[in-house]
Symmetry: C2
Subunit: 341 residues, 2 copies
């Protein structure tokens, strides 16, 4: 089976100098993949020439005349740049020409354009961004939402849990992945009303055997790997993820401050690799009528290749179809009016 | 000037085996301090004997017959253990026998008992927990609230900003410390309504020259040291702090996994010391009619001593008086009814 991936080659801080080598490297390793490189055709062809990769039957270039800048407001991406590489790459998914799209472009724009082009999946009110973080059990912890929704109702968080569960089940081959609800304590009485009501919804699903709800988890459980999935609203998720990234960068900068600690970092390299955020690049935009993956804007070629890999896996393991089925199963009788709360 | 500090010696995961050596070490280094050790008298005297410190004119022991366990619910600490070391230590502040109290006991209980005994400061609706984190500018970033308040109005966040500003001004000698509002982006349009309304209140204070409001900051700004103070609600603060602690523990565990990386960690030690969370132990409970400091429950003697140092500094630099003055100045005309929102 061939998986077709459309790549927004102009997105991210580095554009084609990162996205093209990543795409070429991925293509070599994955014979089942076909890639559609989207962006300014001349620029892309020049970069391909650099790598001696002008022609490849599994590689095509699709011209798009505009580029969404990393600091473009959502409105600009949505209304003014209608021929952007981001938008064209997403349109390929909508048209069925690609199974999944990958972009390192700005998150707000990517979510907005994806929602506009693909539309939200039936039964889902708010798409969410789901990323993965390394944990002490050597596995990834999936965390959502990471910034798409700053105000969430219990119903929204409930849907995030369902979508996260389907994603992990498909991507990791875990039949009933455990779901943790991010809170200020593990006891049931802890937290605000939204979190408490969400727990009630998740416990009901657990009792019906539909989801594997572990209960409340705390911030440190993300890295302990207490649960496969950590659910939170986009405000908490975004702040937490950025704080964690900030600490990682701080640790790196401290290592670079003198020769001894640099030597230390070299010695510790094999272990530190486990923490390498590059290996954990590639967040899913869940709940749309099509698969979209978001790479970190600052990703290097190695990290961007990981995002392509995850996108490939998601398409290969039919995440999209499984999401539709599971959402229909878990929320068959939720009237639309109630869902729009 | 002598600063009297009451220490809840039974609190924390380790009790007197940590708190007493920390107290003794601090006392040696700080001639202006007098310590009141609170707890089970026999246990405390036995521990003092171990260290050959039975008698010291600047050290006294105050018996308390009960201990608040780390997992005691707030109700137990508040209603059933009326002679706990935690409560007696706080009562010493209320009576004026101590200038400040330090405890490594459970946070929820410490806040609840402190509120009950000391009461909330006039003009303050919700006391907050303010902790410090290391940053890339080699200074501490003060962050509040860290868990006392899971649901906050803009008015509450506004007060946290004021209290944080007074604390940093007194502790760090910075006249108008910069205040950042934790958000999902730096632009004014980002975030939920609570954050946006808080920004409006803070901008107004900034324009009146009362506070130094920088604007929105993101999670990574905590470690960049973009602002002296980062303000957020207790839910976000608690989750973020625990996530960051979780990552630190994960990094440590990775270092311990093989000989090479252990050697690496040893070589990198002097640099890594900067990140040492032990040096950043000691959170303030702000907004009460008396000073209370909270040590991490798992603190070792070195870390607990840092918490005592911070408590000493806060008392020495008159944080309490400055808080009263500043709050009266900044919110002279807020009617009580409005404050209770």
């Amino acid at each position: 089976m061939t998986i077709k991936i459309s790549i927004d080659c102009m997105g991210g801080d580095h554009g084609p100098s990162v996205t093209i080598p990543a795409a070429l490297s991925f293509l070599k390793q994955q014979p089942e993949a076909e890639l559609i490189l989207v962006g300014l055709e001349e620029t892309l062809r020049a970069e391909l020439r650099k790598h001696g990769a002008e022609s490849n039957p599994r590689l095509s270039v699709k011209h798009a005349s505009e580029v969404v800048a990393m600091d473009d407001p959502v409105e600009v991406a949505l209304r003014r740049k209608k021929d952007s590489s981001m938008r064209v790459a997403i349109e390929l998914v909508k048209e069925g020409a690609a199974n999944v799209c990958v972009s390192a472009g700005n998150t707000g724009a990517l979510m907005a354009v994806s929602r506009y082009i693909l539309k939200t999946m039936a039964g889902v009110d708010r798409p969410a961004i789901c990323s993965i973080l390394p944990n002490q059990k050597n596995g990834p912890t999936y965390m959502l939402d990471l910034g798409a929704n700053v105000d969430c109702t219990p119903h929204h968080l409930h849907q995030f849990a369902i979508m996260g569960s389907v994603l992990v089940s498909a991507m990791e081959g875990i039949k009933k992945p455990t779901i943790g609800l991010l809170n200020v304590g593990t006891e049931e009485i802890k937290g605000n009303d939204v979190v408490k009501e969400t727990a009630t919804l998740l416990r009901a699903d657990h009792e019906r055997g539909l989801l594997n709800f572990y209960g409340n988890v705390e911030g440190n459980d993300i890295f302990k790997g207490t649960t496969d999935i950590v659910v939170c609203d986009g405000f908490v998720g975004n702040v937490t993820l950025k704080a964690v990234e900030g600490l990682s960068r701080f640790v790196k900068s401290v290592f670079k401050q003198n020769v001894l600690s640099m030597m230390g970092a070299v010695l510790a390299k094999s272990s530190l690799k486990k923490l390498n955020p590059e290996r954990y690049n590639g967040a899913s935009l869940l709940g749309l009528k099509g698969l979209v993956f978001k790479s970190h804007g600052g990703a290097n070629a190695y990290a961007f290749e990981w995002a392509i890999k995850r996108a490939f896996d998601a398409a290969k393991y039919n995440v999209q179809e499984q999401l539709s089925t599971m959402i229909a199963e878990l929320m068959p009788d939720t009237p639309d009016a109630q869902r729009q709360v």
